[in-house]
Subunit: 367 residues, 2 copies
């Protein structure tokens, strides 16, 4: 689901950048960080595809400068040698050697896909890693191979448990993707908090307020009115569901589900018990042909997705969508007309491009 | 998480029934339906354990009379012969032959556990089935074998998609369980709607109102004030998150995730496209030893669960809990003092016991 209007870059602040130029510049920046060329191109693909889908929380605007700082500070290893700690026909556990997740997760998903092709299901868990980017990118890799793809990641300290007064878990997002025949693929990708942590950064950049039910105050009490974004250090994100009565224990439970599958299953501990430890990831591929005829599955997906988007809309809405549909449409639009970056982000790019002597971003002429 | 106060049977309407008596009577009722003795005892175990955990939505009060009607109407097959449609080392797809889910799911989970023991992960999907009961029971079977257990089920027509004006999906619950060393096991079990469909039945029985954010009106607009439970035929449940702004697209996306894993992967179609078709289930076991040392995992789970329950509580709360903790405590209490059934439910039991000539429920003397 694309972002609420309040998060979008206002038209007056937009600079449209062609996909190819963004790809070239981002690849060059990663290479300057010491990342091998092929890995740099993969990193650029993850970020640019994410921006093309309109998922700006996890595109270049927010995360690239964090990655650059991570490499410069020595927190990220540009040439990691991951280590397989344990392996079976359908599973693997990997130590990431502090490699960046956006580069290692696609490789781990390929491993999961290979396992799923052989025995039906493949699951790879990883610890000691870097930021994973948007989970949806990695889940989609499996869908493109005729599989159901799943991806989760954990790290950081954001979510206040139901009835709690302090953050204890990350935003712990999960993504699932599945192919269809003619319809755009099903792709669900969401944090288990009401909003992703990066949304607060976006809100600050565009001057938006936070909606009731998104954060708690410093005592852990859900704030049920509109407020300005607080400082990053004081951010208490509510679990999906916002209050106990509306189901925040479910968002909290889902976050713990993600924690079990990423952190615990990879042999690690939650961030609050091991501050500064690397991120933990979970990549899984379920080979559809192992369960059912793939063509039948895709046709049934078409019928299901069509049924959803043909749902009678509620008053005030033009149509009903399914997860992945609007992102697909956004991608067509942005491929044609460029990716709208905030002028402040383009300024940051200009600075870093000059500093590193890499190609500056092209601006697309106004249309 | 146990139910909100509003759902609990009021003290004046409670009749405490000993676990053993409930087990004996329920087993006998299933046998009178033509279910073989061993299966009847398994069915009773699923329902009684669920009531012991305090999950009254899925215990004897709501579902047993539905099952009896299902057998009497010929919708449920008391002696099903399930058919394995497709199988690989880590997967199986099964046609349930209209068997009741609470009896077949534990058997399918055993199959998943066996596969996980051999190759690391085991996944069994099922179609053409009956009601699954509480997903948590089945997920817990894997946890008791040193695995992470997962269970999901789909069927029925309850959830209104975000922006939609008509129900299109079921409540599509999911459960996950994982073992610890000294702490009660982690067990998360929840519908992807804000509340489970059965909760509305409970609310009617105890005369409770529905909270803002639980249901939509007939136009699909979220009702954000307290209301009386509507008639069953007119029930429009909201996805977890309640409104788009508070994340209902996430509850909706999770429901579709469950639909993909149960319905689509087992070769079936959502209920709205195939009304009256049987339920679809997903059972998975992830062998912890395939990923990491089991003892280390359990110790890390202990540390994690302790960290959560030692979280500083928000004002107005005594403590913070984790999924499964209160259910564990409730079980100790109910094993000692009996299961509190609503007097109306006990009346139903008395009637059916006389009709079928099976042992009547014992009443526990007031303590």
């Amino acid at each position: 689901m694309p972002m609420l209007e309040r998060f979008k870059v206002p038209l007056k602040d937009q600079v449209r950048v062609p996909e190819s130029s963004l790809r070239t510049t981002v690849t060059a920046i990663f290479q300057k960080m010491g990342v091998p060329r092929e890995d740099a191109a993969l990193a650029a693909d993850v970020l640019v595809v994410t921006d093309l889908r309109g998922v700006e929380t996890h595109g270049v605007s927010n995360v690239l400068r964090v990655y650059v700082k991570g490499y410069n500070d020595g927190l990220l290893n540009p040439r990691p040698k991951w280590k397989v700690l344990r392996e079976t026909p359908s599973t693997a556990t990997i130590d990431c050697d502090r490699g960046l997740g956006i580069i290692q997760a696609p490789k781990a998903m390929r491993m999961a896909i290979d396992k799923a092709r052989k025995v039906g299901v493949g699951v790879v868990v990883m610890n000691n890693g870097g930021h994973l980017g948007a989970c949806g990118y990695h889940a989609m890799l499996a869908a493109q191979e005729g599989m159901v793809g799943m991806c989760m990641t954990a790290g950081g300290l954001w979510m206040v448990p139901t009835w709690g007064a302090e953050p204890r878990l990350g935003t712990n997002p999960l993504a699932i993707a599945a192919p269809a025949k003619s319809e755009p693929y099903f792709l669900f990708d969401a944090a288990t908090t009401t909003i992703a942590g990066n949304k607060v950064q976006l809100a600050k950049r565009v001057g938006a307020k936070l909606h009731p039910g998104w954060i708690a105050d410093e005592n852990g009490i859900p704030i049920m009115k509109e407020v300005d974004p607080p400082d990053r250090g004081r951010l208490f994100l509510l679990p999906l569901g916002s209050t106990r009565e509306m189901g925040s224990h479910k968002g909290y439970g889902l976050a713990m589900m993600v924690e079990v599958w990423t952190t615990l299953l990879s042999g690690a501990l939650p961030w609050v018990l091991e501050p500064g430890a690397g991120s933990k990831h979970f990549l899984a591929a379920y080979n559809i042909s192992a369960f059912v005829d793939l063509e039948q599955f895709k046709e049934n997906m078409d019928r299901t997705l069509r049924m959803l988007r043909e749902t009678k809309p509620a008053p005030g809405h033009d149509r009903v969508v399914y997860p992945g549909l609007l992102e697909h449409e956004e991608m067509q639009e942005r491929k044609a007309h460029g990716i709208p970056l905030h002028k402040e982000v383009v300024q940051w790019f200009d600075g870093i491009c000059e500093e590193l002597s890499v190609p500056r971003l092209e601006r697309r002429p106004a249309t």
